[in-house]
Symmetry: C2
Subunit: 392 residues, 2 copies
Amino acid sequence: MSLLERGFPDSEFEARAAGAQALMADLGLDVLLVCTEPEVRYLTGFHTPFWQSPTRPWFVVLPAEGRPVAVIPSIGASAMNATWVNDIRTWPSPRPSDDGLGLLVETLAELVGQTSSNENVSIGLPMGHETHVRMPLADLDVLRERVAPARFVDATEVVRTLRMVKSDREIAKMAHICDVVSGAFEGLGELLSIGMTEREAFKSFRIDLLQRGADDVPYLVGASGPGFDDIIKQPSDRVIERGDLLMFDTGSLYDGYSSDFDRYVAFGRAGADAQRAYSTVWAATEAGLAAARPGATTSDLWRAMADVLDAGGSLGNSVGRLGHGLGMQVTEWPSNTADDNTVLQEGMVLTLEPGLTWAPGRMMVHEENFVVRADGPEMLSRRASSELPILK
Amino acid sequence: MSLLERGFPDSEFEARAAGAQALMADLGLDVLLVCTEPEVRYLTGFHTPFWQSPTRPWFVVLPAEGRPVAVIPSIGASAMNATWVNDIRTWPSPRPSDDGLGLLVETLAELVGQTSSNENVSIGLPMGHETHVRMPLADLDVLRERVAPARFVDATEVVRTLRMVKSDREIAKMAHICDVVSGAFEGLGELLSIGMTEREAFKSFRIDLLQRGADDVPYLVGASGPGFDDIIKQPSDRVIERGDLLMFDTGSLYDGYSSDFDRYVAFGRAGADAQRAYSTVWAATEAGLAAARPGATTSDLWRAMADVLDAGGSLGNSVGRLGHGLGMQVTEWPSNTADDNTVLQEGMVLTLEPGLTWAPGRMMVHEENFVVRADGPEMLSRRASSELPILK
């Protein structure tokens, strides 16, 4: 099985389960409960866009030993049966009177039964930063009562620790989608021109990404104009003019793994201030890359980039961080902030995302994707041009 | 402003806020707190795919009178400023030590201050079926403590009641995307052929939808084979053969509003059993449409369809319902089930989705989208062929 083959062999899921179970043991957790798409997919391989429907909750319980157990709506049984999971328990959801709670409580009781007396049972559930519980709050409150005296304990550290470091197969998927997106960005000059609307530009870029091999383009934002500070924007009917800047930022997918980087281009000409801002964020990225090695921290990356931005005359940055983790989601733990202090490890995939405000209401953000390696960063995105590209 | 113009005039948001405030008064709620994408977009118009990043929580508080107040990460300030909201409070997220909680507690206190003494304050928060709270559970628990003695009360009914009935402008957007998707389904014969892989078929269909005018195709599932029962599947490298069935089901978007219907086709020939199954789900849809009028219930729709499916020899259905509401999300309240009993009102947009198992491991699901109107259903999807289409 080549690294780029679709899906993962069972050995990948065995390693994930074993890793989670070791961390669970460290934290004194008897079982782990997850209910969000990335966590369920990470532990089982269950992969469907059906999560966009808010109707039904989905649960996966990882016992202290062995494979995860799926407690899911019957509509998902066939898809879950195609994964390495072999204990699949279903109910006919939607059933608001008991939308899986009874089955989940029963499953939890069974899976902790062998390990502890009920008084001391700890059920791990991610409750921390970057997580949420995807079930109705009224049902969650009932669930907490029904499992008592067992109690839910924060298990963010389990999924965070595991998911932050990527396997070679995960990295291969991300390298592929970053290659596809790099090609599309490098081809913007053939795709875009003065006189197009933002909406037309988005459409042609999205289709180009799919034609080049992206499975999907769930995240695409962008803007055009002499300058702008809304960097999470959807397209308008604004017509691209000579002298405009244009920014696209995309999280495109290959086999369930995401890219996340942006590019700026200018049309016809670019002002000296915009070119200077571009050079500053490009240089900040260089500084971040130079600092990226195992043992350094996300805060070291932040400081290396922030120093260059400050020296470049930044008027500020509304993003709140200078890059983040990348994987199944377009953003993941950790965050490159002044006080995040996550220690970098080999195999972490990160973005560097220095941004600055170069004039009131005008922001420029630069982004690259790379893997932390012992001998220095391995680029996943192809490094942007060191000067602001000017399209004809 | 034509009905199909992008976005909504402020009058639409004024009507939504007034509707919510009337329901809040009925339920004795002093303010309403929402934190999920559709609810925030419904009340404010804030529209970005940035919600795919799990890092930051977003809050909107609707007071008893006046416009909603946004309590959001600073990265969203510029985009929120383009909406009708004029009270925008931001913090530099991500900031795990206080990721908006302090600002939210302060805002809630201020907005309920005029209306009640703290002991009796009820803060509405959707907690029921089809909802979840999109913030870390640990933060939610702290929030509950910090607002005490004020308390959170389930406000599902507020958003459910309002969102179930669509305005003319919302319906115009959905009619447009359903028209685009209908055209793409009708053109499948020119797009697909024996010898393509499922992956190639998905890719060409997704690109075709974008070329025809879909803004995005976030939901696309499908399968091929002599029969299949995984109807939320992603494509494989399976090659389409003569005699295969193929199913595509898509929730495509126009201006933030979704279609949700599927189509089955056969390649070269189709077995009598598959054709009979198709005719049965088609006839069940006719029965559902005949029952769809204001005053009837979702359970009436369910019964009308279930009778036809039972008479057609259905071996079962794993979906759990026979259709649902449709709007900003690919599925919304209500559900067409035996005991849902939601009373249909003019302007509700629903899917009918009868499905049956026609042989072990072989399921067929048919789906159409329509508006409930006084003089009978107004189709949004163009009615499928009454017989299983057989492509060359």
